[in-house]
């Protein structure tokens, strides 16, 4: 039976900024342009917004307050939750709960970043040893790619997963991006292209890693009731969940990621089974992220992820299309990607994605991973459905 919150809130407006390179824009400028786009998408005005959520990689801890000023908004509900790239997926579930509780009626979720033009070394920038928690990482030169590579190597050792299988994920995302006019990397690639690309942190090659872009996005979340009167077909929030995975007392199972807990909760709340899911939007920071997420969400058993992604299963036309927009591996990854997962899932459920549309998509599963998979990360899942 669906949970109490299921279907009470809807995503009414979305906007993905078309830019992937914006040296002439600021972070807040991008945020504001995205907010304007999402409000225009659903036909609401700034005066209708009474809830605001954001997170960022360069805005300070009071970022949500700064965004309110920049947009000249006076919201009565604020969410500055920052749990990494998954933050915006979590903002949607927080907004749904706030709307159901009457704390706000129209929540704007926004993100913007100039990660690429500011030359942030997101994946291979290393960590500092200055703060006490980082002291256990900083002296060893761990990069973000490196933390995911530790998980990939463990998966290979335990289950015989191959680099070719991981490469299939990158190939599928690039094929999807070739159908998305706004994607940053659109030239199709082969498994051999991935394997022959430069090694970054074994076993992950350059093409196993997401791109770095500038960009931004925004969502308008409101009650299902109000969404029915707006410009676009509402997309209902059917289920949600959040989780963390960390070092526990010192020896966690690296292959059990946060998605296991958050995904189970979201599916149960939605009253939806795996077979009902028509399309997935999964955080693809690295190819291994997708494989581990599919296993932990329960689309296949632990260890079967390598075989699962073979043969075009996660490509358009396959049994479970993942990231029809091309994902972070090929379309858009300005530092934090969670908001784009929700945007693409919503666009797919509206049925207006043109060449990359999953025909007749009724139910979408969104999962964001934030942080470093092998060390400390968060997960946030949404199940979305057509009204």
């Amino acid at each position: 039976m669906p949970g109490r919150l299921s279907g009470t809130a809807a995503i009414a407006g979305v906007f993905e900024h078309p830019t992937r390179w914006a040296p002439d824009k600021t972070e807040l400028g991008l945020v504001a342009e995205c907010a304007r786009g999402a409000l225009a998408d659903c036909g609401l005005a700034p005066r209708d917004v009474d809830g605001l959520a954001t997170a960022g990689i360069s805005m300070g801890p009071m970022g949500v307050v700064q965004v309110a000023e920049y947009l000249n908004l006076k919201p009565r509900w604020l969410d500055g939750t920052n749990i990494g790239g998954s933050s915006f997926v979590a903002h949607v579930s927080h907004a749904a709960a706030a709307i159901a509780a009457g704390l706000c009626e129209v929540a704007l979720v926004v993100y913007g970043s100039t990660a690429a033009s500011n030359a942030f070394a997101i994946g291979t920038g290393g960590t500092t040893g200055r703060d006490p928690a980082a002291a256990f990482v900083g002296p060893y030169g761990m990069t973000t790619v490196g933390s995911y590579a530790l998980v990939a190597r463990r998966h290979m050792e335990r289950y015989g997963t191959t680099s070719r299988q991981l490469a299939e994920i990158a190939v599928a995302m690039r094929r999807h991006a070739s159908l998305n006019p706004e994607a940053k990397m659109r030239r199709p690639i082969t498994v051999d292209d991935v394997l022959e690309s430069r090694m970054i942190s074994e076993p992950l090659h350059l093409l196993d890693c997401c791109i770095i872009s500038d960009g931004g996005g925004a969502l308008v979340v409101t009650s299902a009731e109000r969404a029915r009167d707006l410009r676009r077909p509402p997309v209902l929030v059917l289920g949600c969940g959040e989780a963390v995975a960390h070092q526990e007392l010192g020896a966690p199972d690296l292959l059990t990621i946060a998605a296991k807990q958050s995904g189970a909760q979201a599916l149960a709340m939605a009253g939806v089974s795996h077979g009902d899911v028509d399309v997935c939007a999964l955080y693809d920071s690295f190819t291994i992220t997708v494989l581990a997420t599919l296993e932990n969400l329960g689309f296949c058993k632990p260890g079967e992820g390598g075989a699962f992604v073979e043969g075009g299963r996660i490509g358009l036309g396959g049994a479970l299309p993942v990231n029809p927009d091309g994902g972070g591996l090929s379309s858009n990854h300005p530092g934090m990607r969670g908001i784009f997962l929700v945007i693409e899932a919503t666009r797919q459920l509206r049925g207006a994605c043109g060449a990359r549309q999953v025909p007749g998509a009724q139910v979408a599963l969104v999962h964001g991973t934030g942080g470093t998979l092998g060390v400390l990360h968060s997960g946030a899942t949404l199940v979305l459905g057509r009204a």
Binding site: V137, G141, T143, E202, L249
Partner: protein, 136 residues
């Protein structure tokens, strides 16, 4: 031949001071709860299993086995850029906890999961050295 990394100084605080001071003595220091017996890493003010404050420190054997590893070929951070390729690994300690560290004194191509290793201590840019591992 890659250069030795220049390791940023680890910052010790009240939770981790015993760990880093142990490293300076050549000991790998872990925490054990006097109330429930749990061994934990990273260090905390209380037991992560039972929340008791009765925490004691002890020197681990320094022996362990590689749980997983990655050979890092690209790190733009100064101090590590010149040290590529180097091996980052999780090491399962005999006492239970798993430590993130580098494997040193071995060819990256020779590293295997399950390989027995032993702790060593590498200098950092600060007063405390950092535990690393070499083939046992």
């Amino acid at each position: 031949m890659a250069a030795a990394p220049r390791r940023p100084a680890p910052a010790a605080d009240w939770d981790s001071r015993a760990y880093w001071e142990g490293a300076a003595r050549g000991e790998l220091v872990l925490q054990r709860c006097r109330a429930c017996g749990s061994v934990q890493h990273r260090p905390r003010a209380l037991c992560g299993a039972c929340l008791s404050s009765e925490i004691e420190h002890f020197a681990a054997s320094g022996r362990g086995a590689v749980h997983t590893f990655t050979v890092t070929h690209q790190n733009q951070a100064p101090g590590f850029r010149e040290a590529c390729p180097y091996v980052l690994a999780y090491v399962d300690l005999e006492e239970g906890p798993r430590l993130l560290a580098n494997l040193v004194d071995c060819e990256p191509a020779d590293v295997r999961i399950g390989m027995p290793v032993r702790v060593a201590f590498a200098p950092t840019e600060g007063e405390f050295p950092a535990p690393v591992f070499r083939p046992a």
